[in-house]
């Protein structure tokens, strides 16, 4: 268990996103905005993605990150935010479903 009362700057997604921005990179921020059932990451969790597909943080236990990264590329390109939904009921469940049986909603937006 992480017991530090201070931010873990090397691993904190929002700190990393700010650093990327300062380096002149295009960045997308994905946020878990809703969960149903047993979701692996709580509401408010972040995955941050740069235009090369580098990412930090997580929005699930690794089940849907690659799909979110792909969508984030489009969001960086278009500047238009997207709402993604993942769950076992999803038709893409076998590709990117949550094995735990939960459902999550992820908001993906461009930084700037």
């Amino acid at each position: 268990m992480d017991e530090s009362i201070y931010l873990d700057e090397a691993r904190d997604p929002l700190i990393i996103a700010e650093g990327w921005m300062k380096d002149g990179k295009d960045v997308a921020i994905a946020t878990v905005v809703e969960t149903w059932g047993s979701a692996p990451r709580p509401v408010g969790s972040h995955l941050v993605i740069d235009a090369e597909g580098n990412f930090h943080g997580s929005v699930s236990g690794g089940c849907v990150e690659s799909a979110v990264v792909t969508e984030a590329m489009d969001v960086i390109g278009s500047g238009k935010a997207r709402m993604l939904e993942f769950g076992v009921a999803d038709e893409t469940a076998w590709q990117v479903g949550l094995s735990c049986g939960g459902r999550i909603k992820v908001y993906v937006e461009r930084l700037g």
Binding site: S4, I5, T31, E34, V43, G112
Partner: protein, 234 residues
């Protein structure tokens, strides 16, 4: 997300100040609300709840959908006194999600053998608090019974607006303490925030039971902490 909003949010988080990031999921616009900033209506009530609970969620207000991401500093508990109560309090508080630091200049008390796996400072509170100041997301429990050790820390906790300040001792002991704190320059309204005798009244008899009472009182103070609107006060 607005780059300036992200920069501001990270500044608040680094400084251990609470903030709620409010994002309009319809048009993507976002802004930072700090604890005590006045926000009217249903959205204001939802934001106040986010500050109190630390829970992030989507809310409907004013015919729009907002996502409220609550960024609360991690609360912590500073205990003045490496005593028997503290030995029970440290592991209990850690399990409850409140990391503990113990400060006691008496090296016979503050030993790693008595306090395994605890952040322990065998130094005067004056010295430790200079390095790592108290803040409003810190609780302070003074349990040494020794004014030389407790008083400075209590005054510092009141000045830093710690969300909980508790002091061990009977009512008689506390009456004398009040006099000393007044002499140190603390205001009567500040001093009234001190929980003394310390702990919820559960009839605690042993050091471990007193630790439960102190922890319960700390949690109660955290979850009901005053989120009074600055604008309303001024």
């Amino acid at each position: 997300m607005d780059p300036y909003v992200l920069k501001t949010l990270n500044e608040e988080r680094r400084a251990r100040r609470a903030a709620v990031l409010v994002t309009d999921l319809g048009d993507g616009r976002d802004r930072i609300v700090r604890e005590g900033d006045p926000v009217a209506g249903d959205l204001g009530a939802a934001i106040a709840n986010a500050f109190r609970t630390g829970n992030s969620r989507s809310v409907e207000a004013e015919g729009r959908t907002f996502f409220l991401n609550a960024h609360l500093p991690r609360p912590r508990l500073v205990v003045i006194g490496a005593v028997h109560i503290s030995q029970a309090l440290a592991p209990m508080a850690r399990i409850a999600g409140y990391p503990v630091e113990i400060i006691d200049p008496r090296t016979a008390f503050a030993t790693p053998e008595r306090f395994p796996d605890v952040a322990l400072h065998a130094e005067w509170p004056e010295d430790v608090l200079k390095r790592a100041p108290l803040d409003s997301y810190t609780a302070l429990a003074a349990v040494t019974h020794d004014p030389k050790i407790d008083d400075f820390a209590l005054k510092a906790a009141l000045d830093a607006r710690c969300f909980y300040v508790g002091a061990l001792g009977s009512r008689k002991t506390h009456a004398k303490r009040v006099e000393r704190l007044l002499a140190l320059g603390a205001g009567a309204d500040q001093i009234a925030r001190i929980h003394a005798p310390i702990g919820l009244d559960i009839g605690a008899a042993s050091p471990a039971e007193i630790a439960v009472a102190v922890l319960a009182q700390t949690i109660h103070a955290f979850r009901s902490r005053g989120l009074e609107t600055k604008g309303a006060v001024a």
